[in-house]
């Protein structure tokens, strides 16, 4: 009996399942494993030479902590001076009357003197105390003043910083505008340059252009020739033809445009 060509059961199913298994395998490889070690993409960052003013205002400057005020030193109290003791009377053998009188007088004198002394002392003490108090007050005052001054200085500094930042910003804006307008001027002039035929190489001519506030050209002076007079002439003609040159609307900026150094390269 010849071996009949037998039909495999479920042949299509086998093919289908085999493909399915491989698709699952590939899917696991592609999605299951994180093959990614991609570095973070480039990040654009603007660099500011100074923070914009409002932002700075928001940030509260840490106030300088009030210095622990040194306790006013207790003034050394003037020690109470020992009261002059009344001198013990020395019983003397009674002398003569005159003597007694004399002695009495002397005594009186002494007493008076002592009283005077005492008063003077008292006065001096009060004076001293007053002076000390005054000194103390003055010190206090000075300290407060110093504090106030410091605060003022701080605030002034902040203000100044803010104004500085503002000024810097303005300056940068101005510089930007200046560059912008210079570029515009150059562009406008370049549009008018009619390049003479057969100019060899890539010549560069430098001109000093004097402008009027209206944008008219007062004078155009060749400061560095390109070495090719035809090109120099063409540029000069273009400078005059390009009048009026564009100037920034802000008239205060004109000072920077009064005299311009412009370079014209043939192929830029």
């Amino acid at each position: 009996m010849p071996p009949t060509d037998r039909k495999e059961p479920g042949r299509k199913w086998a093919i289908f399942l085999a493909i399915l298994v491989h698709l699952i395998f590939v899917a696991v490889l592609v999605f299951g494993v994180s093959w990614q070690t991609r570095e973070a993409g480039p990040v654009m960052a603007e660099l500011w030479s100074s923070l914009p003013a409002p932002a700075q205002k928001v940030v509260p400057k840490p106030e300088p902590a009030p210095e622990p005020r040194p306790e006013p030193k207790p003034e050394p109290k003037p020690e109470p001076k020992p009261e002059p003791k009344p001198e013990p009377k020395i019983e003397q053998p009674k002398p003569s009357k005159v003597d007694i009188e004399l002695k009495a007088k002397e005594k009186e004198k002494k007493l008076k003197e002592e009283q005077k002394k005492l008063e003077e002392q008292k006065k001096a003490e009060t004076e001293k105390r007053k002076q000390a108090e005054l000194k103390h007050q003055e010190k206090e005052k000075q300290k407060q003043e110093r504090l106030v001054q410091e605060q003022q200085r701080e605030s002034m500094r902040q203000q100044q910083e803010a104004t500085n930042a503002l000024a810097r910003q303005q300056a940068s804006a101005q510089a930007r505008m200046e560059g912008d307008y210079k570029g515009r001027i150059r562009d406008k002039i370049k549009r008018y340059i009619i390049v003479p035929p057969d100019v060899p190489g890539n010549p560069q001519a430098e001109f000093e252009v004097t402008l009027m506030p209206s944008g008219e050209v007062l004078n155009a002076k060749l400061t560095r020739s390109s070495g090719n007079p035809a090109y120099d002439n063409a540029v000069e003609r273009a400078i005059y033809k390009a009048q009026p040159l564009p100037l920034p609307p802000d008239a205060s900026l004109f000072g920077r445009f009064r005299e311009l150094q412009l370079k014209f390269r043939l192929n830029e």
């Binding site: 037998r6 495999e8 479920g10 199913w13 086998a14 399942l17 085999a18 494993v33 991609r38």
Partner: protein, 226 residues
Amino acid sequence: MNVTHDLSFLSLITNASVLVQLVLLVLLLASGLSWYFIFGKLFAIRAAISEADKFEDEFWSGADLNNLYQRVSSGRTQVVGMEKIFEAGFREFLKLKRQGRMDIAVIMEGTRRAMRAACQRELDALEQHLAFLASVGSVSPYIGLFGTVWGIMNAFRSLANVVQATLAHVAPGIAEALIATAMGLFAAIPAVLAYNHFSHDVDRLATRFDSFMEEFSNILQRQANT
């Protein structure tokens, strides 16, 4: 060497050297074929086992052998497995018996030979692609390893031109090389498992066929004597 950090799977493969790509292609083909055979064998062997079960049930239910033979040999259904053995044996038996004046031993010998031939054919059909599975299982890891070694060689060779060698210079090359090994293992592991499983199944079927043949010869011998 252009060091790319984008290790997406596809770019790894497309950036690999030609030989590694070739290895991957071979392995993919081997894997695809082996999976196809795995599923094909799975269905075939399962069908053979269930068919053998069914036929044994029918055979031992005490049905008349002539009726059974009529039904099997009518050609309406494809005859496979145990039915085929039965059909071949019974046909040979009937032919020899019809010739008459023959020794019983000779008749039984012829019948047995016919059954053995049918059994061999059946087993051969069942085992048809198992050898392929075996070779994929044993060889594809080596093929993958070859691709990996080649890829790593390239990766290190390109490192020679670099003054400051970092891991980033070698990593993509090694990664792409290791894909070859992964592919080889992916092809090999199921193939080996399937080969072992199927050869075991086929062995069991062979012993079942053998025992059926012995029992059937006994029955025929008894019938021939009567």
